[in-house]
């Protein structure tokens, strides 16, 4: 009876302040992480309460999205905390931990500190980008009293300083992160999903189909992305969707090629024959049996490609054929800062540093994934 009321207290505690329940139960790592998330969410709400409330009847979807994201994450952390504490209380700690190849890989990945740090940094950047409307201390494109506010060095009021028009660089960097990070992610999602399906179909069917499909790949590879961009920007207005499409639709052939190679070797394996012998249709063989087995190199190249795409977007914006000012992106911020480099180093420095940090983190992540998924280690038992 006493134990029961004690556990009820614990659940209440977990609901009121997610994470505390875990810490009491001895799960410190998980508890501290939950606590940090919760407190951060509450602090942001408290600090930007007015913006937060007004976001709900704002016409701007990004404000609304940021506010909803805050609420959802708070709800999620409370729900998860209660659910997990209850699970920990009722269930006997499981002796058998998951042993699927991917669970083993995840465990190996967790042991890699550098990669885990990279994941935290990347996640933090994405969250900051989503919350930009709530977090940005100033309007990113507001220009007031240029002569007094231009090129202010980093200070408490303007942690990243101001640019030639007196705009707050921290706010611009936060808004710029939305462009840079989402272009990378979305373009890679297009490229990877197209490339995977395309390569798998070519490799699985082989013969004539393979030949035709791979010749098309050769043609697409031969198109110089950069000049295509220049030309298309000359015709259409460059915006985010446009950039994502161009980058995504020109970079899938690489994925298609190596997936095709993977599938070619996988389809010689007996389980493919077994899948056919048991009467599975081709569609299921490709999607349920072949692609999952080819996924590890896809994951590695996804992480690498996102880093590359973010760099590419910055490069295009720097040259003025990507995202156009006044919409901030890290690329065009660096471009604006380059002229003032001698008088105001901070204008180019901060977006440049953020860009470099992001790309490095994605590369570290890719390395970590590759090490964790090393096929030689894949079957190694972790008991």
């Amino acid at each position: 009876m006493k134990r029961r009321s004690q556990s009820n207290h614990l659940i209440l505690l977990a609901a009121l302040l997610p994470g505390v329940g875990h810490i009491v139960l001895g799960k410190r790592g998980r508890g501290i992480r939950l606590l940090v998330v919760t407190i951060a969410v509450i602090l942001v709400m408290y600090w930007r309460w007015e913006v937060f409330v007004s976001a709900f009847h704002s016409t701007r979807i990004d404000h609304w999205l940021a506010a909803v994201f805050l609420i959802v994450s708070l709800a999620a952390s409370v729900t998860y905390s209660v659910w997990d504490v209850r699970r920990l209380l009722t269930e006997i700690p499981m002796a058998t931990r998951g042993k699927s190849p991917y669970q083993l890989a995840r465990r190996r990945f967790r042991a890699n500190r550098l990669a885990v740090t990279a994941v935290y940094v990347i996640t933090a950047f994405y969250i900051l980008a989503v919350l930009a409307p709530l977090l940005a201390p100033y309007d990113p494109s507001a220009i007031t009293d240029v002569l007094k506010t231009r090129f202010l060095p980093p200070s408490m009021d303007h942690p990243f300083g101001t640019d030639a028009f007196g705009r707050d660089l921290l706010s611009r960097a936060l808004y710029g992160a939305r462009v840079s990070l989402s272009v990378g992610l979305l373009a890679v999602m297009i490229a990877i999903s197209m490339g995977t399906v395309y390569g798998a179909v070519a490799g699985y069917f082989g013969g004539f189909i393979d030949n035709v499909l791979m010749r098309i790949v050769d043609v697409v590879i031969a198109i110089p992305t950069f000049f295509l961009m220049l030309m298309l920007v000359g015709i259409f207005e460059a915006n985010l969707v446009f950039l994502v499409l161009i980058l995504g639709l020109t970079s899938w052939p690489g994925t298609a090629r190596f997936i095709r190679g993977e599938i070619l070797s996988l389809k010689q394996r007996e389980f493919t024959e077994a899948a056919r012998a048991i009467g599975l249709p081709n569609r299921l063989i490709i999607f349920r049996h072949l692609i999952p087995n080819a996924l590890s190199p896809v994951l590695v190249s996804t992480a690498l490609m996102i880093g590359g795409m973010i760099g590419a977007e910055a490069g295009l914006s720097f040259l003025g054929i990507g995202i156009r000012p006044p919409t901030p992106s890290w690329g065009n911020m660096i471009s604006q800062g380059k002229d003032a480099l001698l008088v105001a180093w901070w204008v180019a420095f901060f977006p440049g540093a953020l860009l470099a940090l992001t790309v490095v983190c994605f590369n570290l992540l890719a390395d970590g994934i590759r090490d964790a998924l090393d096929p030689k280690a894949l079957m190694q038992r972790f008991v």
């Binding site: 007996e270 048991i278 009467g279 599975l280 087995n293």
Partner: protein, 321 residues
């Protein structure tokens, strides 16, 4: 008659020429019986099995003949219907028990997949049935084991799981392609027992493909002996072991080590090796290795003739009666 194969011919079209892996073989399998197809490695046994389900990998292809399963010709039917037969009417067990399982999915999900496909079960029913099937194939604690991955299973357990998958579509014919070859001896015996038990339970016919005469003696009712893509002898299992007619069959039986044989008695193998399929000897392809062959064997391959009501043999030197 459950399966009727008539003049089945499968060729591989290689750069070096046409490889006649299966060269006009005919046989049939009755409901519920076990027929063994034996022969040395590389004489076309596996290609027969793959031909039956039209699964020969390119550049190979079934070029002729009829495969009538349950009244339907498998070579003439729509791809859709053929997929229903694969797994649903004819199940197949493979030689390498590990390789036939997909390494990234649990055993349970691989069994359930077939159950949902062929028997239209929903997720929950399929899981329950998968547990039952694993239990039926003799895997202890099946409700835990369905969550295991293939690499967590031993060779024998993997073969049991493969068998569970093969019978999950309730096939009426099970093609067992060297089901015991990759396993060690004690596990072999268990798998043989399991197959016999399942056959009795489900009234399945089994086409057993093997080069292991011990397994043949334990399981089969009729035996077909294959050499260089042709059937050279067909007989009931007792007659075959008691009195092999074809010199190749005698050679195969002589090359089995026997308990109780005199210590001094040497183990006699068949001299030579299976010839290159692209460069087969003329006439009876066995004549270079045959102890009783002579000039009369060089000109033409002997046809498979009845030598008694239940026996057939393809050899000039074997008299009828």
């Amino acid at each position: 008659m459950l399966l009727e194969v008539e003049n089945l011919t499968s060729h591989f079209f290689l750069d070096e020429g046409v490889l006649r892996a299966v060269d006009g073989i005919s046989f049939d399998v009755n409901e519920g019986e076990t027929v063994a197809l034996v022969g040395e490695s590389g004489c076309g046994k596996t290609i027969v099995a793959l031909s039956l389900l039209n699964l020969i990998p390119s550049p190979g292809r079934v070029v002729g003949g009829r495969i009538v399963f349950n009244g339907e010709d498998l070579l003439q039917m729509e791809a859709e219907r053929l997929r229903e037969i694969r797994g649903g009417g004819i199940g197949m067990i493979f030689q390498e028990p590990g390789a036939a399982l997909n390494p990234v999915f649990t055993i349970g999900s691989q069994i359930s997949e077939v159950l949902r496909l062929h028997r239209g079960l929903n997720r929950r029913e399929a899981e329950a049935e998968a547990i039952r099937l694993l239990g039926e194939t003799g895997i202890p604690e099946p409700e835990k084991r369905i969550k295991a991955y293939p690499f967590e299973f031993s060779g024998g357990m993997r073969q049991r799981a493969v068998i569970a998958i093969a019978i999950s579509g309730r096939p009426r014919l099970l093609i067992a392609d060297e089901p015991t070859t990759a396993l060690d001896t004690t596990v072999q015996a268990e798998i043989v027992d399991l197959l016999r038990y399942l056959q009795a339970q489900h009234k399945m016919a089994i086409l057993l493909i093997t080069h292991d005469m011990g397994v043949v003696a334990e399981m089969a009712e009729r035996v077909m002996v294959m050499y260089t893509g042709k059937i050279v002898e067909v007989a009931g299992v007792c007659e075959l072991f008691r009195e092999p007619k074809h010199p190749y069959t005698s050679g195969l039986l002589n090359s089995i080590p026997r308990l109780g044989a005199g210590r001094k008695e040497p183990l006699r193998g068949i001299p030579g090796a299976v010839p290159d399929f692209l460069d087969l000897p003329s006439g009876c392809t066995f004549h270079p290795r045959c102890p009783i062959g002579d000039e009369s064997c060089i000109s033409e391959f002997p046809s498979l003739r009845s030598i008694s009501p239940e026996r057939k043999c393809a050899c000039y030197k074997v008299e009828a009666g």
